[in-house]
Symmetry: C2
Subunit: 293 residues, 2 copies
């Protein structure tokens, strides 16, 4: 089930981005090509998968869910473009291709990231995409909070602070909840918004998302520690070289692996009120710690 | 009337940003301080003034209009932060202070800009700020379209293209409509959205905004050509040094000045169906070409 879902979401996200981002016939073409290079350039599409899997539990139209999924993925892609910049992580490789500022140039990379963030909110607020104004406004709110200084960008700021001070486990957990967890949780919650899920149902789904978000990051730290650069398609072991604390450096690999497994069990327990319709979310939770890239 | 309105909007925008952006008690504090350095650091607040002046024509609550005004100003501020980066315009001075990447560092400048864009949409989508979900979604749509690749960022991409090819008057006009005009027009239109103005009324206001947007840019080119760096609080004559075409280089200073005056008359003509309640918008139109910084 999961392998098919992963391959299907990859194709669907690419097709949806392709339809939403046609290249204009003027001098902006290079910007759009850069945006498409980043947005259509691959990745696991985990956030779109979480959003669509949640939405489908509530019978939401797949095409509408995919548009919302492209919005959350656009925010993820823009954050990778800016993260890779020379003044940030200075990375040369992303999804086994040159990073955007190397494939184009730094100015275009800054602008393409900026454009992708605006694009995300443009997609969500468009009445042709989502008929209910409450749904549009709520999708924007959930994504904006997860993306902004109280979410992902705040986590990136903590990540910069972690370079010059020694973070303990609580601080690393908080950093990762913001930097990675907030957007993963937003993906699940946006699926619930599309399904008109009320407060109690959203609370359980947030619990699920919160736990898989941390499990995801621990798995990432383990892959960074033990993984293969060719398989990952990006540089590894940069945190250790930079002397930054990770779950693995703080807990050791064995306890980190155990902690990730516990979080997955806990995530699945949040889905107890659901039947077979939540099987894909359960499979995603297990995949998150078992993946090899 | 205008002098008082300009001074009042400056104080009100600063107070609203201050209330919306409290500094958290953790390692994100530096990011928030950087955001506040940029957002509270001055500027004419022309976009907030346009939004609030339009909204007040329709009796919109000033506090609500100011929150929307801070959203559009946040997008303007983020664009200045990223524009000033070494890989973009590499500017050292903004509002007579060191640019953000010099006052802090480049990574923080990238993140502060990214955070301000997310913050803008977070403010607009918050049900505590605007009770009507249609208004929230519509405010986001207008701002996102104006900010994104079909608006401001698209204009910045054209600006980069203009460095390596010789733009004619039509191309420079298009560049400026996107780079500066789109956000000025969005400010007016967001004021109209808050006032529940229907299609026909919004069309007239868009005409007004379109004309003052171009007049603003011509005035900027004239100030850049003839102005004083101390008064402007930023480096001038960079376009001429870079060999980029401007309204002044293409039309000459006299014809450019005449064109700006014609656009102001035309902008004011779009307000013909309004009485004294539009006097502030008329005064803003005149100010735009008469200002000395």
């Amino acid at each position: 089930m999961l392998a098919e879902a992963l391959s299907r979401i990859g194709a669907d996200v690419a097709a949806t981005f392709d339809a939403l981002l046609p290249v204009p016939g003027d001098a902006r073409a290079r910007l759009y090509e850069a945006i498409r290079y980043a947005a259509l350039g691959g990745g696991k599409r985990l956030r779109p998968l979480l959003l669509v899997a949640t939405a489908e539990m509530y019978g939401v139209d797949r095409a509408a869910a995919l548009r919302a999924a492209c919005a959350v993925e656009a925010v993820h892609c823009y954050s990778l473009i800016h993260d890779d910049l020379p003044c940030m992580d200075d990375d040369a490789l992303r999804h086994a291709k040159p990073t955007l500022h190397l494939a184009y140039d730094e100015a275009t990379a800054v602008l393409a990231g900026d454009a992708l963030q605006a694009f995300a909110f443009e997609v969500l607020a468009d009445p042709d995409h989502f008929g209910d104004p409450f749904v549009r406004a709520e999708l924007v709110l959930v994504l904006a909070r997860a993306a902004g200084p109280a979410g992902m960008v705040g986590g990136q700021a903590l990540d910069i602070a972690a370079e010059t001070s020694t973070f303990d486990l609580a601080q690393v957990t908080r950093l990762q909840q913001l930097k990675t967890g907030a957007l993963l949780a937003a993906a699940v919650e946006m699926g619930a918004v599309l399904g008109h899920v009320q407060a109690e149902g959203r609370r359980h789904l947030r619990g699920y998302a919160h736990d898989i978000g941390l499990a995801f990051q621990i798995a990432d730290d383990l892959l960074d520690h033990e993984g293969d650069e060719g398989r990952a398609g990006k540089a590894l072991r940069k945190d250790a070289e930079a002397g930054k604390q990770t779950f693995v450096s703080l807990l050791g690999a064995d306890r980190a692996r155990e902690q990730a497994r516990l979080l997955v069990d806990q995530a699945i327990a949040h889905l107890a009120s659901h039947g077979a319709e939540a099987d894909l979310l359960r499979a995603i939770a297990r995949y998150i710690v078992e993946r090899d890239h």
